[in-house]
Amino acid sequence: MKHPNRNRGQIRIIEAFFASVLMLSTIALIPSQTIVGSSNDQFLYSMARNVLPTLDNDGSLSKLIESQDWATLRTQISLTLPSSVWFNLTIFDENMDPISQALISRGTPNGRIVATDYVCVGQVGNFNMYIVRLQLSTVG
């Protein structure tokens, strides 16, 4: 003998299950968009971390800073980064006073900007330290 009330109860539970799946899938869609944003940040951040140590491997970064050759410095960083990436470089002394008056930059930023600080030391001469701040974003 069939019990219509029991069947109805089972159907309700199945409905509830589908409703919860619907709710979950809606929730799942929201963070997936932020993941796309943060993976781009990670990509930019990874580039920012690599550019300056690579330039400094042979001590050329500190030489360019000490000779205040900002044009060559800008060119070298431009060559290292993809053309789709905006950058801005600021150089500070040990007391965090900026020493680069010229704008060492390329393009216009679009979206989030990531930044990394690199401590640069001169190989030759007096022991001078510089804090080099590299900001990256996608070109607008």
Binding site: F17, S20, L24, I27, S46, R49, G59, D117, Q123, V124
Partner: protein, 247 residues
């Protein structure tokens, strides 16, 4: 029905969240910290080069000194502080420790012997201990900067003089390296050290691969002591003394 669906949804969310947290704890995203830590390496190497240049040139002025390590210690402390201030959040300890061993004293080895070889070297280990509420990280690497020279020579009697030929090889961290300049002295029969220069027909032949043939005339008879000092392109000084036997 709404209450049941909410309960099921909460159960599923909490399970998903738990799995997510477990995964996060397992991977703990070490890669950014690793690369941030490793990006300090050029700064440490440049600090060691700068300090060794200073120490070796001071030792040249006062050879009995054997390398004052205070410069290295002060520079490394300053660098460690700057890196710690600029690179990391959380509870962070960035430490650079000069090596103490049978050969290195406070990270410095200056050995300019009479056996035809000389070494100017510094050695330090770098460690990072980092922790914040989400993760713990610990890693270390070692950095060595060494300039070495070998000198081997002979002399040929030429009337009242000796024609001296010395073959020198210069190294940076075991790789052939170029010299910025040389300083050569020879010991006269009376014991005085005399510089070899243009007045003694000094000629330095650069083979371009870290090998140099140095030749000059010395007012001496028989075997003589020759001292060869060199600055490499990093301004680190190194010296070797050798005995040139007569051919």
């Amino acid at each position: 029905m709404i209450i049941t669906s909410l309960i099921i949804a909460m159960l599923m969310i909490s399970t998903a969240y738990y799995v997510l947290e477990i995964n996060k704890a397992a991977t703990m995203d070490q890669a950014p910290l690793d690369s941030t830590f490793l990006m300090t390496r050029p700064s440490v190497v440049n600090t060691l080069i700068n300090s060794l240049a200073s120490i070796s040139n001071d030792s040249l002025a006062n050879i009995s000194n054997g390398g004052d390590s205070e410069v290295l210690d002060a520079n490394l402390k300053e660098l460690a502080q700057a890196i710690q201030n600029s690179s990391y959040g959380g509870q962070c300890e960035f430490v650079i420790t000069p090596l103490n061993s049978t050969t290195y004293k406070n990270g410095v080895l200056i050995s300019w012997g009479d056996n035809g070889s000389g070494i100017s070297s510094v050695y330090a280990s770098v460690a990072l201990n980092f922790s914040d509420p989400n993760e713990m990280y610990s890693s270390e690497y070692e950095v060595n900067v060494t300039t070495a020279i070998t000198a081997e020579g002979f002399c040929t009697a030429n009337g009242t003089q000796e024609s001296v030929n010395v073959i020198c090889q210069l190294y940076n961290e075991n790789d052939a390296a170029l010299a910025n300049n040389f300083t050569i002295f020879y010991q006269e029969p009376g014991g005085n050290w005399t510089p070899a220069d243009s007045t003694t027909a000094l000629n330095i032949n650069d083979y371009g691969n870290g090998t140099y043939l140095i030749s000059f005339d010395a007012l001496a008879q028989g075997a003589l002591q020759v001292s060869v000092g060199a600055h490499d392109l990093r301004n680190i000084f190194v010296m070797a003394n050798t005995t040139c036997l007569e051919n």
